[in-house]
């Protein structure tokens, strides 16, 4: 068989998630890299140690990556509902809140001011998803009655109802003043045991991983102790990968197709045998499950938060993620959540760099000075000064850019980052020819 092109010889191999070896190798290498980063591991080649993307092992970056994973899971859920099934929802924050407080009640510490049963993560995390899914099913019937913008308004209402409920159920949520503490990311078999795996404290990585060190030791440095942030990131990465695979599978099987059919032509879908109400029911349930899990992970990650965390802005953030990434695609959703969290950090770093350039003087200094205000009487777009300044501060600048990006994507690239990626890929597929 040598010298032959790689042909698909079965439907199964053609329909698998990663049909070609190139794709498989790229994905495995990428995941390997994403695991290596938090461990601050370097690849030893001779005397040198390579640390590709090593800067990401910084704790502040790991926190960003953790948020990417959590919001990635949530956004996958919204993508199923809005991107696949075409049901516009602004209620995602509400379902996240339901998940978060379910986790809080089940997993929170026993005998404190707020309800808590002290159950382990393997109960509270799935339960957070399931309870959110149940609530999602209660909302689904409205989607059968109203569609499009009207559904968006109904689900918008949910967010406000949710916020009101969460603010007033003080014994569960702690209210707006101080909020409450949430369960920690640690694995226990039952209530009061010592955690078998703690993702929330510094220390050695899980013992069973030692064989990896033994296997790859000559080439790769594994540090003995791993930071809390790194462990948290690792467990979230694992969960994200699981949910990505689930979402991908859903999309390529029967129910996923039914969702897309309802989105594209609902009457035709019904005539072809797709039950309208039942299918929307399922879309809401699955989407809310993802939201509930993401909500529980988010509060466990933050540790303590107030009910206002689950406001409209959170929902809008999810809509932004799938719009920027590209609605209806899993890859786009992931790109969107990476973008939404990594971009502000880049803007911040860039602002700091500009300020430093001005201070250092030199050729670029005058150009940079045009953008940056370094003192109260120096006009400029952005400023890294504390307190009042003539320019925008970095977070304001981020909000402005964020808004512009959403508008820009809607107008110029409805397929989002995924669409841009498709175009780049197709260009290089044919290169050096135009097609």
């Amino acid at each position: 068989m040598r010298g032959r092109p790689h042909l698909y010889v079965s439907y199964e191999s053609e329909q698998s998630l990663l049909p070609t070896w190139t794709q498989r190798v790229i994905v495995v290498l990428f995941l390997f890299l994403m695991v290596l980063i938090p461990l601050n591991g370097g690849i030893e080649i001779g005397e040198r140690v390579f640390q590709p993307l090593g800067f990401l092992s910084d704790n502040s970056w790991l926190k960003i990556l953790s948020r990417v994973a959590i919001f990635g899971i949530g956004a996958l859920g919204l993508n199923i509902l809005t991107g696949l099934a075409g049901q516009v929802s602004l209620g995602h924050a509400f379902f996240m809140g339901i998940g978060a407080y379910t986790a809080a009640v089940l997993g929170g510490e026993v005998g404190k001011a707020h309800w808590g049963l002290g159950l382990p993560i393997w109960i509270w995390l799935p339960a957070a998803g399931l309870v959110a899914a149940l609530v999602g099913m209660l909302v689904a019937p409205t989607a059968v009655r109203v569609r499009g913008l009207y559904l968006a308004i109904v689900t918008l209402g949910l967010v406000f109802i949710g916020e009101y409920l969460f603010r007033n159920l003080v014994s569960i949520t702690g209210g707006s003043q101080s909020g409450r503490k949430f369960p920690e990311l640690e694995f226990r078999w039952w209530q009061s045991e010592e955690p078998a795996l703690a993702f929330n404290s510094d220390g050695p990585i899980w013992a069973p991983f030692n064989w990896l060190d033994w296997l790859l030791g000559p080439w790769i440095n594994f540090p003995a102790d791993v930071s809390e942030e790194a462990k948290t990131y690792l467990i979230l990465l694992v969960l994200l990968v699981v949910f990505v695979v689930l979402a991908k599978n859903l999309q390529r099987t029967r129910i996923g197709r039914a969702f897309m059919a309802l989105r594209d032509r609902d009457i035709a879908a019904e005539v072809m045998g797709v039950p309208d109400a039942k299918t929307k029911f399922e879309a809401f349930a699955i989407s809310s499950f993802y939201a509930g899990v993401a909500g529980a992970l988010l509060v466990a990650f933050i540790g303590r938060t107030i009910p206002e965390q689950f406001n409209l802005l959170l929902s809008v953030q999810f809509v932004a993620i799938i719009l920027i990434g590209g609605a209806g695609t899993v890859a786009g959703t992931l790109m969107g959540s990476v973008f939404v969290f990594v971009f502000p950090r880049l803007v911040q770093d860039f602002s700091v760099w500009l300020t430093e350039t001005v201070e250092a003087g030199g050729v670029l200094s005058s150009v940079a000075d045009f953008f940056v205000s370094t003192s109260l009487d120096d006009p400029g777009l952005v400023s890294t000064l504390e307190g009042v300044s003539p320019g925008l501060n970095v977070s304001q600048l981020n909000l402005v850019i964020y808004g512009l990006l959403i508008v820009g994507f809607l107008i110029f690239e409805p397929l989002g980052l995924y669409g841009i990626w498709l175009r780049i890929r197709n260009y290089w597929k044919g290169w050096p020819f135009t097609y």
Partner: protein
């Protein structure tokens, strides 16, 4: 009384004051190719919509294998084995050809969202069996090269074929074809006629054909129903219909 596969009994449908169908009665038997013709607005598509459960007639009854279809949801009716193509192509524009035709198999498969998400044994097996059926249809309709194209990008004639494929994927007992050759050139029309005859011969599916192309209808239909402003004016063999004075009047107007 002997049971027909499908029977319309004195069906009446009106929208406010407009009578879309008025006393329509006909029957279709197993494996028969039945055609419904009539000028624009005669109620041909409304007949289909009543049959599919999209509209609910106010009068009369529609019997499928002797059981009434009235009040049943469209997806239940689809499950009974009634498939349809639409006049203005109603494909799922953002899905590719494979996905569109696979969707037609929704009623013949039953893996749920959980098994699907997990891609466990049964889901995988069903998906592969599905693919095999879909490929047979793709083969039959000669659309191999379009498999992975989003249908929104395909030429009109091919879209019509994909829609036919999607309906066939349901393994129906009866196929409703709403103007399958509208807007096609001679060559495309001949292709479509060939597919229709192939389906009839190889799969033995009963068909109701709504079409304006009289040449096609007269050539392939077994029996014809003529509607005019919602009322049936003639039923019979193609040769009789062609000579029927009422039909000529409906189409060409009266002699002055």
């Amino acid at each position: 009384m002997s049971e027909h596969l499908l029977e319309f009994r004195d069906v009446g449908l009106s929208f406010k004051g407009v009578k879309a169908l008025d006393g329509v009665s006909f029957h279709v038997d197993d494996g028969e190719l039945f055609a419904i013709i009539g000028p624009n607005g005669a109620g041909k598509t409304s007949t289909f919509n009543c049959l599919n459960g999209v509209y609910r007639p106010q009068r009369g009854d529609i019997l499928w294998d002797g059981k009434s279809l009235l009040g049943r949801r469209p997806d239940r009716i689809a499950k009974l084995g009634i498939a349809r193509t639409f006049q203005n192509i109603e494909l799922f524009a953002h899905m590719n050809v494979l996905e569109n035709i696979s969707l037609g198999r929704h009623v013949r498969t039953n893996v749920g969202w959980l098994a699907g998400s997990l891609w466990v044994g049964k889901a995988k097996r069903e998906e592969m069996a599905n693919r095999e059926k879909v490929e047979e249809i793709i083969d039959l309709l000669e659309i191999e090269q379009w498999r992975k194209y989003p249908v929104g990008l395909l030429p009109y004639g091919v879209q019509k074929r994909v829609e036919l494929g999607r309906a066939l994927a349901m393994e129906p007992k009866m196929l409703l074809l709403d103007e399958p050759v509208a807007g096609m050139n001679l060559e495309e029309t001949e292709d479509m006629a060939r597919f229709i005859l192939d389906i009839r011969e190889e799969l033995g599916i009963a068909m109701i054909l709504v079409e304006h192309d009289m040449g096609l209808v007269m050539d392939i239909a077994d029996r014809i129903l003529v509607l005019d402003f919602g009322t049936p004016i003639a039923t019979g063999l193609p040769a009789d219909i062609q000579r029927n004075p009422e039909v000529i009047k409906a189409y060409l107007g009266e002699e002055v």
